[in-house]
C-alpha cells in the first residue's frame, strides 16, 4: 500500500480568516468532520486554496524547511533578544511562510524564473523537481528533462542536434531538420548548476529564457509558457564560468536554501526506513493542469495594487538611480550614466559632497532599479497577496517579497557609510535583511514627509490624467505657473535626493505636456 503520510494534504481552509458570511446554517454540516467518506467527494478547492495546500504539503511532508522567514502578524508579535549580537527572534502572530518553498510556488503560479542558491545537498534540486511534478509531469520525465550544467555543455546539448542525414543531403538550411531536446516542451524547465555552463551556451540559454524560443541552424522551436528553476551553489552566480549579466537579469527571484535543522533528523530517518522520496508521493489532487496554471496567472494579474501601496513602492524605487555628479544634464544624472562611461565608482563617490550619505538611501547601492525589476516586483507582490487569499496587495506583501526579487538586482555598495555602522555589519552578508531594512527606511521617510496626505506632484499628475479636453488656455497657463512655482519651492535650499529627482523630472514632463498643449491651443485660435 502507498505510504499515506506523504499523501495527506492540509484541510481547507488553510488560511482561515474572519470574513463577513451570511448566517445560514446548513444541517448537512452535521455530517462533515474529520472522518472521510461520510459525504462523498468534496468540491474541488479554489485555485488559491489548492496552491496553499500544495505549499503546506511541501513544507509539512516533502521539504524539511522549518524556516518561517516571511513573517506576517495579525497583532502584536512576541519577540526575544538573543545572543551577544542582540538579534531579534520573532514569533509571528499571523500565518507565516518559508521563502524556500513559497517563492518557487509563486514562480510556478506566475510562470516566472526562480534561482535556488545555497550549498550542495540542501534540497535545491529536489524543490525544483517537485515543481515539475506539480505541473503534472511524471517524476521520471522531470528528472530526465533536467539540464545539468557542465563546462563542456554545448548549444546542441542544450537545444538539439541537426539530423545527420539532413546535414549530408540538404540543399539549403530550411531542409535541415532539428531533433529538438524534449525538455524544451516542458511546462517546468529545470537547469541545475547553471553557473557551470560555458558562456557561449549561456547565450543560447538567454534567448530561450528571454524570448522563449530556441534556434539552431535557422530553425526555430517555440517553447510553451513555462516556469523556470535554476540552481547555483554560489550566491553571486559565480562558478566555473561567470554568468552573463543579461542572463542573471532574466531571473525573477532568488531564494536561498537555509541550513538543515538537526532537530528534524527523525524525518530523514523515516524516509530512509520507509524508502520513500517525496517527489514520488505528490498527491494527485495537488497537481495543476495547464489550464489551471493559466487561470492562476489571470487571477494573480487581477489582484489590485492600491494607490497608497503603489506610492510607497514608487518612493522606494526612486531612491536609487540618482548620481548627481554623473551627468551634466539633469536627465543624465544617473548611476547608469556612470556605469556606461566606465568611470571608477570611488571617483564618483569622492566627487559627491554635500548630501547626508548616511541618510540618503541611494548611497547604499551601486545601481538603480530597472523596469523589469519593478514589473517583477509587482507580479510577485500580487501573487503573494493572491496566495494569502486577498484580492488587494498589502504593503506587507511588497515588503516580504521585495528582497527575493531584488536579491541580485540591487547591488549594495559595501563602502557606503551605512554598512560601516556596527549595527549594520550583518547587512553586508545578509542581503535579504538588508533589502527589507532598506524598504523599511524608505517607508519611514515616506511617513516623515507625510506623503500620503501631502503629495502636490501626485495631485498635479492626477489632474493631468483627467485629460486635456476642454482645458482652456487660461487654465493651462495657470497650471504651468503652478508647476514652476512648485519646482521653485522644491529646489529652494534643499539637497537633491532620489525621490526629489524623480518628482522634478515628473514636473518637467507635465510642464512639457502643458507647453505643447498650449502651443496647440494657440494654433487652433
Amino acid at each position: 500500500m502507498a505510504f499515506d503520510f506523504f499523501r495527506k494534504i492540509s484541510r481547507a481552509p488553510t488560511n482561515p480568516r474572519a470574513v463577513a458570511r451570511p448566517r445560514e446554517f446548513d444541517v448537512a454540516d452535521l455530517y462533515r468532520g474529520p472522518v472521510g467518506g461520510a459525504d462523498g467527494e468534496p468540491a474541488p478547492p479554489q485555485l488559491d486554496e489548492k496552491l496553499r495546500q500544495a505549499y503546506f504539503w511541501i513544507v509539512n511532508k516533502a521539504i524539511i524547511s522549518p524556516h518561517y522567514d516571511i513573517e506576517y502578524n495579525d497583532g502584536p508579535a512576541q519577540t526575544f533578544t538573543v545572543g551577544d549580537s542582540r538579534r531579534t527572534l520573532t514569533l509571528p502572530s499571523g500565518q507565516s511562510y518559508s521563502s524556500f518553498v513559497l517563492l518557487p510556488l509563486l514562480t510556478f503560479a506566475t510562470r516566472r524564473k526562480c534561482l535556488f542558491v545555497g550549498g550542495p545537498g540542501r534540497g535545491k534540486t529536489a524543490s525544483a523537481v517537485l515543481m515539475g511534478v506539480l505541473a503534472g509531469a511524471p517524476v521520471r520525465d522531470v528528472r530526465r528533462a533536467m539540464q545539468h550544467g557542465h563546462p563542456q555543455m554545448t548549444i546542441a546539448d542544450l537545444l538539439g542536434n541537426p539530423l545527420p542525414a539532413d546535414l549530408v543531403g540538404a540543399q539549403d538550411m530550411e531542409s535541415i531538420r532539428i531533433a529538438w531536446r524534449k525538455w524544451l516542451g516542458m511546462r517546468v524547465k529545470i537547469v541545475d548548476e547553471y553557473n557551470r555552463i560555458p558562456t557561449r551556451t549561456q547565450s543560447a540559454l538567454l534567448t530561450l529564457m528571454g524570448d522563449n524560443y530556441a534556434e539552431v541552424l535557422n530553425q526555430i522551436y517555440e517553447c510553451p509558457e513555462s516556469a523556470w528553476y535554476l540552481t547555483a551553489n554560489d550566491e553571486q552566480g559565480g562558478g566555473t564560468y561567470d554568468v552573463i549579466e543579461a542572463l542573471r537579469d532574466r531571473i525573477d527571484v532568488v531564494v536561498q536554501a537555509l541550513a538543515f535543522n538537526t532537530r528534524f533528523l527523525d524525518e530523514l530517518l523515516v524516509r530512509i526506513e520507509d524508502d520513500v522520496r517525496p517527489e514520488d508521493m505528490v498527491p494527485p489532487e495537488l497537481v495543476f493542469t495547464d489550464v489551471e496554471v493559466d487561470r492562476m496567472g489571470e487571477a494573480i494579474r487581477a489582484v489590485e495594487v492600491p494607490h497608497d501601496v503603489r506610492r510607497r513602492l514608487e518612493f522606494f524605487a526612486s531612491q536609487f538611480e540618482l548620481a548627481e555628479m554623473a551627468g551634466g544634464q539633469f536627465e543624465y544624472m544617473t548611476k547608469d550614466t556612470a556605469r556606461l562611461s566606465g568611470i571608477a565608482w570611488h571617483e564618483l563617490v569622492a566627487a559627491d559632497n554635500g548630501r547626508d550619505r548616511m541618510k540618503d538611501l541611494g548611497c547604499q547601492t551601486l545601481n538603480g532599479l530597472s523596469v523589469r525589476n519593478l514589473m517583477t516586483l509587482l507580479v510577485f507582490a500580487k501573487a503573494l497577496a493572491w496566495f494569502r487569499g486577498n484580492r488587494e496587495v498589502e504593503l506587507e506583501d511588497v515588503r516580504q517579497v521585495l528582497p527575493f526579487v531584488l536579491h541580485d538586482k540591487l547591488r549594495p555598495d559595501p563602502d557606503a557609510p551605512f554598512f560601516a555602522l556596527p549595527e549594520n555589519a550583518a547587512y553586508r552578508s545578509d542581503r535579504v535583511s538588508w533589502l527589507r531594512r532598506l524598504f523599511d527606511l524608505a517607508n519611514d521617510d515616506y511617513a516623515r514627509l507625510d506623503l500620503d496626505r501631502n503629495d502636490a506632484v501626485g495631485e498635479m499628475a492626477a489632474q493631468f490624467a483627467q485629460g486635456l479636453d476642454g482645458v482652456s488656455e487660461r487654465e493651462t497657463r495657470a497650471r504651468l505657473v503652478r508647476i514652476e512655482k512648485l519646482i521653485g519651492e522644491r529646489v529652494k535650499g534643499r539637497k537633491l535626493y532620489g525621490h526629489l529627482y524623480d518628482d522634478l523630472l515628473k514636473l518637467k514632463y507635465l510642464h512639457q505636456r502643458y507647453t505643447n498643449y498650449l502651443a496647440w491651443l494657440r494654433a487652433q485660435a
Binding site: M1, F3, D4, F5, K8, A18, A20, R23, F25, D26, V27, A28, D29, L30, Y31, R32, G33, P34, V35, G36, G37, A38, D39, V270
Partner: protein
C-alpha cells in the same frame, strides 16, 4: 476478547492494517496504541459482529472501513482516555450495531457519517448528545435507507438542542415518510405531520417549557464567557459579547446553542432592550411574568424574534426564554 468474525477479518487484512497503523504513528506523534486496542475491542467489535449477522459477506469491508476510522479517531485523540468527548464511543456501542444492515451495505459511509455527527455535536455546548443517541438507537430498526438515516439524524440533532439546525431539520423531515417524521419528533403516531410541521414552523417555542434555557458560564469553570456578557438582538437570535469574544445565541423550544461570531456581527446587532419591572422575585415584561433569581440592579432584558434574553452583571450565564408565556 473480540468476536470471531472481527478476529478473522483482522487476520485476513493483517498486512494492510499494520501498514496503516504505522502510517498513523507517523502522522500523529502522540498516537496511543492502547486506546486503539480498547476502541477496536469495545466499540468496533460490536459493529463488525452485528454486520456479520446481517451480511457475512460484508464483514471484511466493514472491518477495514471501521479500522480506518478508528485509526483516525485515535490519532486525533477523539477517543481514548485523553478524549474530552465521549459521544463517539457511545455511537459505536449503542447506535451502529442497531444499524447493522445499513453498515453492511455502506461500510465506508454509515460509521463515518455518525462519527462526524457525534464529534460535531460534542463541540456544541448545550446539545444533549445522550438524547440524540437515544433517539437514533430507538429509531434504528425503522431506518431502511441511508437517506432516512441521514435525515432522522438531522432531526434528532435539532431536537437534542442544536437550535440553529431547526429550519434544515424540518426540511429534512419533510422528505421522510410521515410516520417516521412524527416518530423523529416524538409525536404520537396518530398525529398529522403537516399539522405538526406547520405549528413547529410558525412558533419556535411551540411545545417548549415556559422557563426556557440557560447558556454560558465563567471560563474559569469551563464556560465560554470571561466576563458577564452583554446581549443584543441580531436576526432571530442574539449576539453575546463577553470580553473580546462574541457569540451568536440561537434558541427555540428544544434548546439553545452558542456559536462563534465576529465583532462585526456584534456591531451590526441592535440593542433590543425591553422595558421591564421587577416585583420581588418576579420579572414583568409586558404581560409576561418570569420567576427571577437575579438582583434587579443592572438587569437587562433583550427581545429578539419570539425570544427574550436576560443578562446581568452578576452572572456569567444568559437565560433565554419564550417571549410569550407557555402553559
Amino acid at each position: 476478547m473480540i468476536s470471531p468474525a472481527f478476529a478473522a477479518a483482522l487476520d485476513a487484512a493483517r498486512h494492510g492494517i499494520n501498514a496503516r497503523v504505522r502510517d498513523a504513528r507517523h502522522r500523529h506523534p502522540g498516537f496511543d496504541a492502547g486506546a486503539l486496542r480498547v476502541f477496536l475491542e469495545h466499540a468496533v467489535d460490536p459493529v463488525v459482529a452485528a454486520a456479520a449477522g446481517a451480511d457475512p459477506a460484508r464483514v471484511q469491508a466493514v472491518a477495514g472501513a471501521a479500522c480506518d476510522i478508528a485509526l483516525e479517531l485515535v490519532g486525533r485523540a477523539l477517543v481514548g482516555p485523553a478524549a474530552r468527548a465521549r459521544t463517539v464511543a457511545a455511537v459505536w456501542r449503542e447506535v451502529l450495531p442497531r444499524l447493522a444492515g445499513l453498515v453492511a451495505a455502506h461500510p465506508e459511509t454509515v460509521p463515518a457519517l455518525l462519527t462526524n455527527a457525534a464529534i460535531h455535536l460534542d463541540g456544541l455546548a448545550g446539545v444533549r448528545t445522550a438524547e440524540w443517541i437515544a433517539t437514533l438507537a430507538a429509531l434504528a430498526p425503522r431506518l431502511a435507507t441511508l437517506d432516512e438515516l441521514r435525515r432522522v439524524g438531522q432531526v434528532a440533532a435539532w431536537r437534542a438542542g442544536a437550535a440553529h439546525y431547526r429550519a434544515g431539520a424540518l426540511a429534512a423531515a419533510d422528505a421522510l415518510p410521515p410516520a417516521l417524521a412524527l416518530a423523529a419528533c416524538a409525536a404520537p403516531p396518530a398525529a398529522s405531520w403537516p399539522e405538526l410541521r406547520a405549528q413547529l414552523a410558525a412558533d419556535p417555542w411551540w411545545g417548549g417549557a415556559d422557563a426556557g434555557h440557560e447558556v454560558g458560564g465563567f471560563t474559569g469553570f469551563g464556560g465560554p464567557f470571561a466576563q458577564p456578557p452583554q446581549v443584543r438582538a441580531f436576526g432571530a437570535g442574539f449576539v453575546v459579547r463577553a470580553g473580546e469574544r462574541c457569540h451568536l445565541l440561537l434558541a427555540d423550544a428544544r434548546g439553545a446553542v452558542l456559536l462563534g461570531a465576529g465583532a462585526d456581527e456584534f456591531g451590526q446587532s441592535v440593542p433590543g432592550d425591553c422595558a421591564f419591572s421587577v416585583d420581588g422575585a418576579t420579572l414583568r415584561v409586558g404581560a409576561r411574568r418570569i420567576d427571577l433569581d437575579l438582583p434587579a440592579d443592572g438587569l437587562r432584558v433583550c427581545a429578539s424574534g419570539a425570544s427574550l434574553a436576560l443578562a446581568s452583571p452578576y452572572t456569567h450565564r444568559v437565560r433565554v426564554l419564550p417571549r410569550e408565556a407557555r402553559g
